[in-house]
């Protein structure tokens, strides 16, 4: 029992700091984004579980040989006024912290959900009045705005993809199809659930810098997953061009974002054909180094498309998946197995 809490604490610390840092620096996630996504989820779940578990097991140590008998003893204290003298200050402290952290995580998750849903509802209400249904695609509306903007607003049956006039004017039909298929992939693969969970995770533990790394990685991975879906129907050049046009439009720079006009095709005119593609790519990566999260995402997406690397071998993917299963099984086993054996 005693060593269980220490093992869980070690696991919690390893998952809270070094593991996310290493994973966020690794380059293989761009090769197999789906596998990497599973790993991030396993790390977050196992991390939270072992954080709470370590404190719980430590706190219950004097009143039970394992989690189950400990919880039984605690219930007797809380509900039936059994004597609490066995619990020292630090035990009570650990138990309170475990209860508070659990409540905090659950409430933050619900609060984040409520806040996101409220914003989406308001956004949908305005869209219903301002945007017109698209002639080209179902569940797609067009809003009259000059910036090239495309986004999707998740909401079950009311999910909708929004395109701006500026985007329709700037893109060729094939590029538009690539954008639509990218956005539809977000909706059909339910990426908003991942975004919600990791937004809440970061919101709940803002002092833990790795929650930011996790959120940024997940944001970037879902874009890669959606790009991969778009590549099934459209060519790589089409997708890159669509990304480049949308990113270099006024929508990219926030300052010019609202109400700024954009002449379609002006980008092609300002492009300098003399520069070497490799140089352009190097500049892109250099720019990405110091950039914010979403800019890094765009940069890593484009470099991934420009210089594709093969998917991870099946054996490596299998190992990562086994690692995910182990990550979830380990804290669960540490919490439950002593009780079953005892």
């Amino acid at each position: 029992m005693f060593w269980t809490s220490y093992l869980l604490a070690v696991l919690a610390i390893v998952l809270a700091w070094p593991v996310p840092v290493f994973l966020s620096r690794a380059s293989w996630p761009a090769r197999s984004p789906f596998t990497a996504m599973l790993l991030w989820q396993a790390i977050a779940l196992a991390g939270g579980l072992s954080m709470i578990g370590a404190m719980l097991v430590y706190g219950l140590e004097p009143i039970g040989d394992n989690l189950i008998s400990g919880l039984r003893g605690l219930t007797a204290m809380v509900l039936f006024n059994a004597p609490t003298t066995a619990l020292g200050f630090w035990h009570l402290f650990a138990l309170s912290a475990a209860a508070l952290l659990t409540a905090h995580l659950v409430f933050t998750l619900l609060l984040t959900y409520y806040r996101i849903e409220r914003q989406r509802r308001r956004h949908r209400e305005l869209l219903a009045l301002l945007a017109a249904p698209s002639a080209d695609a179902t569940r797609t509306v067009v809003i009259s705005h000059d910036s090239p903007v495309a986004y999707c607003l998740p909401g079950g049956a009311r999910s909708v993809t929004v395109l701006s006039d500026g985007l329709m004017a700037a893109l060729e039909p094939a590029e538009l199809r690539a954008v639509l298929s990218h956005e539809n992939a977000h909706l059909s693969q339910r990426h908003h659930l991942l975004l919600w969970a990791f937004a809440a995770w970061r919101q709940a533990l803002p002092w833990l810098p790795t929650t930011r790394l996790a959120q940024e990685a997940v944001n970037s991975l879902i874009e890669m997953l959606a790009d991969d879906v778009a590549l099934k129907t459209e060519s790589k050049a089409t997708l890159i061009k669509a990304i480049a046009i949308v990113a270099s439009g006024p929508a990219g720079g926030m300052a010019a974002g609202i109400g700024a006009g954009m002449a379609p095709g002006s980008m092609a005119a300002t492009a300098t054909p003399s520069a070497h593609p490799g140089l352009a790519l190097a500049g892109l990566e250099a720019a990405g180094g110091a950039a914010s999260g979403s800019a890094r995402t765009t940069v890593s997406r484009v470099s991934r498309l420009l210089s594709p690397r093969p998917q991870l071998p099946a054996a490596a993917r299998g190992m990562v998946l086994a690692g995910c299963a182990l990550l979830l099984a380990l804290p669960t086993a540490l919490l439950i197995v002593p009780g079953l054996l005892g």
Binding site: H123, V149, E183, H192
Partner: protein
């Protein structure tokens, strides 16, 4: 009968186009003529539009904070809280801005990029 959602849209279009406050009766008459102008059965249905329905639509829009009522006059006159352009700008600000929850609320095709990256991407366009 058109759905409440469609009516909300039609009423807002009228208020945005009119630039001035209007009573439910005026709006009903205008709605009837606009649907009539579209011809065939829609016009027939448009005539049956009741003032109470228009009032229901207006109170829904009022709850959403999109129209406001002039309290002093009877019958009440309604007007749009802000222009169509302002609302579009509000939406786009939500989309392009950096509100903390934005990335979870909606998924943009491209996130914000810096000027230098936009420049590099523009150069890149020349090679594809």
């Amino acid at each position: 009968m058109a759905s409440l959602g469609e009516l909300e849209r039609a009423v807002m279009d009228l208020l945005w186009a009119g630039h001035e406050a209007a009573t439910a009766n005026t709006l009903r008459d205008k709605l009837a003529t606009t649907t009539e102008a579209k011809g065939d059965t829609a016009g027939h249905e448009g005539k049956e539009l009741a003032v109470t329905t228009v009032l229901t639509v207006l109170s829904r829009l009022e709850k959403k904070g999109l129209v406001e009522r002039e309290r002093g006059t009877r019958p009440h006159r309604y007007q749009a809280v802000s222009s169509r352009e302002d609302h579009t700008a509000e939406l786009m600000h939500e989309v392009l801005g950096s509100a903390p929850d934005r990335e979870a609320v909606l998924a943009r095709f491209i996130g914000s990029v810096t000027d230098s990256e936009a420049e590099t991407l523009r150069k890149l366009l020349g090679h594809i």
